[in-house]
Subunit: 271 residues, 3 copies
């Protein structure tokens, strides 16, 4: 390992802050193993995106692989939503328990559910599972007001959610983002102020979005929907080792570089 | 495997409908094996994209890997087109036969060929191979009329094509799509009506495009140019297990959810 | 291997022209091995992008894997820039030497450095390493004039750079590209004329950009920031085996195709 630079401090696992919440969208089991061997230290929790865990083969093997490395793994909120739509809540709880899954996501990205009822599910599930509850709709047309986002997030935490996820979708084009992927800064600030940024996982699938959050909240911000491929690139953003955040973490100091690099003295340059 | 939800019926392999036609753009052989181990059941046929099969190493090994799993594999239409351009038709047929490849694509995405001549190749090749013939140009400026698309597709089927592919390119920005990736619905409807949707493979590389076809034609639509990475995500679309198609396959039923989830009764919610 | 087509000549490794400079952005070690097994012949040099090599595990293993296959590997310019910012030049040189890395990149994509000073680093490093120096800023707002690009590139070559890299970033949206990814042709022509195209590695992460350079400079153009996934697709562009460059390398010849494909004679077509 290289070790000649100063980089921002990062907490160690298991983390409550600085969480990288990764998205597994149905990749192969060997690929997961291979990826984790270079980035395991930076993966805090993994979501088997939407219903991919329901259809892909070798599910038990994949879950075991993550769990052997102490990385919790759970199913995307869409599975919960279809479950509710079909009235299969008990069956879901039973099968998840049998699989040994210890986390669950409660969301209303697509289905309509009274917020009170949603909080009921958070409460009920938090007796048995660690609950992540997601605020935000996948449909950009049905947006919540600032107050609604904040209030709902707060009540879901009170109902027992470990973290509140702020919706950004796998594509990063809805929820806390506009159609063009731009961050809705006012919404972020409002919610972070009410709950504390460490209670929130911000879904941020795109590099520019990740850079924005790292610049705003520092290296220990919780970021979600990060593809397994992007865990290492995100870690470089957190440490100021990618162009986007170099200036944030390694500001121009006014240090006399010539002094620090005396070996250059006396070398004739070309112009 | 999880098994607590109702999802739309899907046919079993070998399929004539509900085909997922996957694109291998030159990935490694181990990656293919690893991917197939989680999604083999949903991959019906694989195209080695354009000329990638001509330049990548370990070609025989890759073909054997697919064929051992009863997944037909063939070379992208660009290879056929360059062959015609260079007058090497006989040599192509000979080398493909030696490789044990049993499918071939006839296209005129780039080269100019009288349609009658194209149909001649379909006819000739269909004696020895299963032929996929592609309608559409890669160049967006040379678009065909509705009648031309439909008529040509029809004649290529009559000449012996197993399926007609409607061009969308790997990028999903031409053929049946506009520059912005939007679906040309009128063209699709017209051709599907004339040939029957089950005779057509619609190239649909992007998630939104796949969702559109699944909503329009149901879970058993034939979709092509699906990256190996996207086979599992597509399968979730076909089953209503991704946000985009939840509403299509699991509509709001008016069922009294409270009844179905009695365990929530009596739980005090937070507001 | 298939071998029935004429394709443009390509030089063999080790290459001085026709270089594919690949980007490893933190992928797993098995994935690297697997990819190289299908495209090793076409990978000339690999950059561990920006600071990914600093944070990912199994660094030594990955370096050994590339070097065993005679593929030089080095660290992205951002690492050099943070080093200079922190005044750790000597430490960097020492650690790189210990790792057995033989190439280094000098860039000023983010940091401010007098050009004379930059050339001093090129000169100093070229005593011990093979130096790639990069011209261009990551920040699109601080663009250089045509003369500045050309002049700087020239002086960096004189200072000892093996090749000059023209900045395009991993995203292909700055440096020699506009915000929309379009190529700045005037800039390219000017610099290529002054230095010779073979002294330059053009960063070209997107397919359309790669096709542009291959059409303009031929199959032996040096292209950089090519993802490992895209090495095979790029090779098809260089040989006219992808739609984008078929016309370039296999022009309509006026050859009588009917003669070359006599087996079609007598076949009744469908219209």
């Amino acid at each position: 390992m290289l070790d000649f630079l100063d980089t921002p401090d990062r907490s160690a696992k298991p983390r409550e802050e600085g969480i990288t919440h990764a998205l597994d969208d149905g990749v192969g089991v060997d690929e997961v193993r291979d990826r984790l061997e270079v980035c395991e230290e930076f993966v805090d929790i993994v979501k088997l995106g939407w219903g991919t865990g329901y259809v892909a083969d070798r599910l038990e093997e994949k879950i075991a692989l993550y769990q052997r490395r102490d990385i919790p793994v759970y199913f995307g909120g869409t599975l919960f939503e279809v479950t509710i739509r079909q009235g299969r809540f008990d069956a879901m709880v039973e099968e998840l328990s049998e699989l040994g899954v210890e986390h669950v996501e409660v969301s209303t990205g697509v289905i309509d559910l009274e917020h009170e009822e949603k909080c009921g599910y958070v409460d009920r599930l938090s007796e048995e599972f660690t609950v992540l509850s997601e605020v935000g709709r996948k449909d950009a047309d049905e947006e919540l007001t600032l107050e609604e986002w904040g209030g709902r997030a707060e009540r879901e935490r009170e109902a027992g959610a470990w973290k509140v996820i702020m919706e950004g979708r796998a594509g990063g084009d809805t929820g806390v983002y506009g159609d063009d992927g731009d961050v809705k800064a006012g919404l972020i600030e409002h919610t972070a102020e009410r709950l504390g940024a460490d209670s929130i996982v911000f879904e941020a699938p795109q590099t520019e979005q990740q850079a924005w959050f790292v610049e705003r909240f520092g290296p220990e911000v919780n970021l979600g929907n990060v593809r397994l491929d992007d865990v290492i690139p995100l870690e470089t953003l957190r440490r100021g080792l990618r162009g986007d955040t170099v200036e944030t973490f390694h500001p121009e100091t006014g240090v006399d570089r010539t002094e620090a690099t005396t070996e250059l003295a006396g070398i004739e340059t070309d112009d």
